[in-house]
């Protein structure tokens, strides 16, 4: 930035900060750590390319997510963000299991409230069992997203 102090990226890279510096709006000079961490993980040229490929109104969000990922990878050099994702996926699975159990309990309670078996034809009970998978599907309302994530994990 001519006439003004260089942005954090140009200061770290020891170059002249021009007025159209792509990093300047997102890496102010008062927060050098932010660019340092992103540069360490992704590299300045890669970040520059990524930002150039995005419309201007999305660049701030992209920088925030890059900083988040770089910070996660600095704290956990092996798993980075993927560690947090695995943890959250486990939580989702556990909640879905608990939901399935609770819905089964409702079914049992409903069956307890129904009239005794002798008063109902046997065929009705056989049909009742086919209703169970639908409830299981409701328990996992996000099955589609979970399957997508599983396929992506297999890509590695």
């Amino acid at each position: 930035m001519e006439g003004n102090s260089p942005c954090a990226s140009c200061k770290l890279l020891r170059r002249r900060c021009t007025k159209d510096c792509i990093f300047a709006p997102y890496f102010p000079s008062d927060d050098p750590h932010k660019f340092s961490i992103v540069h360490k993980i992704f590299g300045a040229s890669n970040v520059s390319k990524m930002l150039q490929e995005l419309p201007v109104h999305q660049r701030a969000d992209a920088v925030s997510s890059l900083v988040y990922e770089a910070t996660a990878r600095t704290k956990d050099p092996v798993y980075g963000c993927v560690g947090a994702i695995s943890y959250l996926q486990n939580q989702v699975s556990q909640l879905q299991m608990q939901l399935a159990v609770a819905q089964t309990e409702i079914l049992c309670a409903q069956m307890q409230q129904e009239p005794p078996m002798a008063e109902q034809p046997v065929e009705a009970y056989d049909n009742n069992l086919t209703g169970m998978p639908q409830l299981m599907n409701n328990a996992s309302s996000s099955n589609l997203a979970q399957d997508q994530l599983k396929r992506e994990f297999l890509w590695t």
Binding site: L54, C81, V82, L99, S142, T156
Partner: protein, 149 residues
């Protein structure tokens, strides 16, 4: 490693793949897209440096995690793996809400069943012990059974 058996990284970078290539075990030539993705987001030298700083026994997991993050960033250039985290957090909120509602329904059903069970028990008790209740004066308006001779 000869040119014919170069790893995906060295093939992409058009260089000789030496025996101690740090990237070779994790970027086999059979999957060139994986390295292309990683190189596009992180850069080969950054990835090599990151892997070198990790103990050997953990490098495979690290390479897989880096490949996944690169893949998600290519799929979503704005949010990358942070978008995946946001999606999972939303799913957790929805699942927690569904679970709370379902457990509330379970409590209601359980209370209903218990209440019905208690009523049946009370009625059965009265029926079983009706003979213990002494003769009461006739209740006006109520039809009385005939006297036993």
């Amino acid at each position: 490693m000869s040119n014919s058996t170069r790893c995906a990284a060295c093939r992409y970078l058009r260089r000789r793949c030496c025996d101690d290539c740090v990237l070779a075990p994790y970027f086999p030539s059979a999957n060139p897209e994986r390295f292309a993705c990683v190189h596009r987001i992180f850069g080969a030298s950054n990835v090599a440096r990151m892997l070198q700083q990790i103990p050997v026994e953990q490098r495979r997991q690290a390479a897989d995690a880096i490949a996944l993050e690169a893949y998600w960033r290519v799929q979503d250039p704005v949010y990358g793996s942070v978008g995946v985290i946001s999606m999972l957090q939303r799913e957790i909120s929805v699942a927690q809400r569904e679970l709370a509602e379902t457990q509330a329904q379970v409590s209601i059903y359980t209370a209903q069943v218990q209440s019905q069970s208690n009523q049946i028990t009370q009625v059965q008790y009265l029926v079983d012990n009706a003979h213990l209740i002494p003769n009461q004066p006739p209740i006006p308006g109520l039809c009385q059974p005939p006297d036993i001779p």
